[in-house]
Symmetry: C2
Subunit: 145 residues, 2 copies
DNA sequence: TCAATTAAAGATAAAAATGTCTTTTATTAT
DNA sequence: ATAATAAAAGACATTTTTATCTTTAATTGA
């Protein structure tokens, strides 16, 4: 098990790739994105269609079309992507799968995991989609392999 | 998405339940465990068979048989259960699904998530299976609902 | 207007995770 | 020995996740 679902991993990597490409050049096609983040093209298309419907990224059809991201979305936190794809279970759910995480009926890991959960949430809330563009341009960060 | 797979959630809850029952009374049957942690009985049976094969818990067949746990296993860390069921992906894998988490080819979340990952690992390594028995007896902690 | 391009949408498929059923084996008490 | 009990094992079923294929719709440029 990983922290995020495969779908969510692709989603985050793809959105960061689109952000990076948008700020340097222009729109970017699905084929380019899939190659850029090393993901199955047609599956990724589905994911991006979903994110597009939800307003996280934008797209236009036709020649010179493709995916891009607007200024406003660049400042949205990564948690928005995670919530859109995996829901908020990671942020509010019980570590051991109890129906309801609560102080009054805590599972054995409640106290220690609440802290970790909040930290995960904090990291994802405080990092914006646009935040990594510079380092992606510099090649200091990687989205594939 | 939750932190652990459903299978792993059941596994941890069940092992803690068996530990709790072993230290208070005696061996405990699969039916009792399933009811005690609110999980599908036959699925849980599979999981416990696996943990038994791997030596995390013990069992005996026949009348008055059931599952129990020995002193040694009581002192084992929860991370042993997680590794047995979900593997070590949570402890060593890349948050964004890159094939190899590394300092030289880090994903955008590498630095911040490495810290979190290590914390998760630390929590699971420092909490033993037997650690929660007292609070489980007191009813201060819950393994169901 | 037409052809080329590219994303959207819908249908299917494959794989993995989760859950159930049936038969077998070991153990115990009678 | 035999019957009852309870886990082990193996086969099967369902659901969810991941991935692919095909058709449609929108956009552009010639
Ligand atoms: S009750 Fe389990 S994490 Fe809160
Ligand atoms: S490279 Fe992604 S977490 Fe280390």
């Amino acid at each position: 098990m990983a922290i995020f679902s495969k779908t969510c991993e692709y989603a985050i990597r793809a959105v960061l790739y689109v952000a990076h490409k948008t700020t340097t050049g222009n729109k970017v096609g699905i084929k380019d994105i899939a190659a850029g983040i090393d993901s199955p093209e047609l599956y990724l298309a589905k994911i991006l269609q979903d994110l597009s419907r939800k307003g996280l990224i934008s797209s236009v059809k036709g020649p010179n079309g493709g995916f891009y991201i607007n200024e406003l979305s660049l400042s949205r936190p990564l948690s928005d992507i995670v919530e859109a794809v995996d829901g908020n279970g990671l942020f509010v759910g019980c570590a051991l799968g109890l129906k309801q995480c609560s102080e009054v009926n805590p599972c054995p890991l409640h106290h220690q995991f609440k802290a970790i959960r909040d930290q995960i949430h904090a990291v994802l809330r405080t990092n914006t989609i646009g935040k990594f563009n510079e380092e992606l341009v510099n090649g200091l960060l990687s989205l594939k392999k």
